[in-house]
Amino acid sequence: MVGSIAMMEIRAVQARLDAIKNNILPGSESVTDIKKITAGASKNTYKFSVKVASQKKTYILRVAEDKSIEHESTINIKMEANILAVAKLANVKVPEVSYILEDHDGLGEGYIMGYVAGETIPRKILRDKKFEKTRLLLAAQYGQQLATIHTIDSGKIEDLPASNLLQTLARFRSDIDSYAPSSPVFEYAYLWLVTNQPQTTERQCFVHGDFRNGNVMVGEQGIEAVLDWELCHKGDPMEDLAWLMLNPWRFGNVDSPVGGVGREEDLFNAYEAAGGVLDIDRVRYWQIACTLRWGLTCSFARYIFNTGAEKKLEHALIARRISETEIDLLRLLRVDKS
């Protein structure tokens, strides 16, 4: 790919960043400490510092990468930068975008944002002693951030995908047909979702789409930044609350439904206190819909593994988590009563 830095050496990236250092921070003297970040699934993310008047400021460079297993995403990297900027205006905790790459910068498509220190690895946030007090704060902070996210003006984001409940169900139908054609449990759950749609009117607003443990940068004071906006869309805000409470993001802390750290009422109370409008029936409905959605993402990983040229162990293991989503569905639907 011409202009991509996927194959580029660190030295070449450094030279190109050096050429735009004054766009990143006026008065910059040099670019230092450049390092590729390997954490998480993001491949093309670099951390670097800029020196200005004997001080150092640290940044993150994010460039477009190959499609991940997030098959639903239609957010390209330029939109992502725009979303971060609009989210910042709405007072959501997000990194500040410093510069959007131009073609002639020779770094491909992407942007540069301020570096936010913290931890994203769920097991560390859930188990490390240093987050002992933080954990008590998180459920309420999640609620507060989600209520703020739901005030983002979706009209300011060009080409933001929109999905009402009927469109979501249509998407499930085609995903089942394409990636899980022989799963009676998914079929059963889908039928339930079609025949038990909530009676209340669906509200539509900006929805993050993947707000959960692992996609939030956490420091000792709690949330430092909300990350991973690739699945954001205009939709039902109750979807975000349900997704956050999905069983897989509890990482074994099964009695703490809010991302393995907190109680439902702390999330709900903080969400309402920050201006969010709660509809518990819709949250319950979305918990089932979101479990099916995660099951279909696992099914897509299986499809990629079975049909793709590259056989990634990670995809194979995600495929073997389909049964986990099926038992979760049977339980939520009270078919499994044991």
Partner: protein
């Protein structure tokens, strides 16, 4: 006749060696990869010992439910289609019992320790 050890025993020896000899000395960056490898081998080991009996039970239940012949995959597709078109009673205890049993059997191979669903 192929000599013993049996595949399951060989794989268990591989697992023991990976856990006892490699895991303690491997560098931090490769540790996660090794844990994924160990997890994958464990799945295969369980599948080798469980899948024949499980699939036979599933097969017999599917035939009883659908009153037709076919491979396990064909029968699962047929059952899926019947649920989708509401041409099978979605409240029938025969169906619900089958869904729970089949999912449990899959889980016994994929993640036998998975208990979290019990709190849902």
């Amino acid at each position: 006749m192929i000599d013993t050890p049996f595949p399951v025993d060989l794989l268990n020896a591989v697992l023991d060696s990976l856990s006892a000899d490699i895991l303690p000395v491997i560098d931090k960056d490769s540790r996660f990869q090794l844990l994924m490898i160990i997890n994958a081998i464990k799945i295969v080991t369980r599948q080798l010992s469980l899948s024949d009996a499980n699939e036979k039970d599933e097969y017999l239940r599917l035939i009883e439910l659908l009153q037709q012949e076919g491979t396990v995959e064909q029968l699962n597709m047929a059952l899926s289609a019947k649920i989708a078109s509401s041409s099978i009673d979605s409240g029938s205890s025969l169906l619900l019992d089958h869904l729970v049993k089949t999912t449990r059997e899959k889980l016994a191979i994929d993640q036998p320790d998975y208990q979290s669903y019990r709190t849902l």
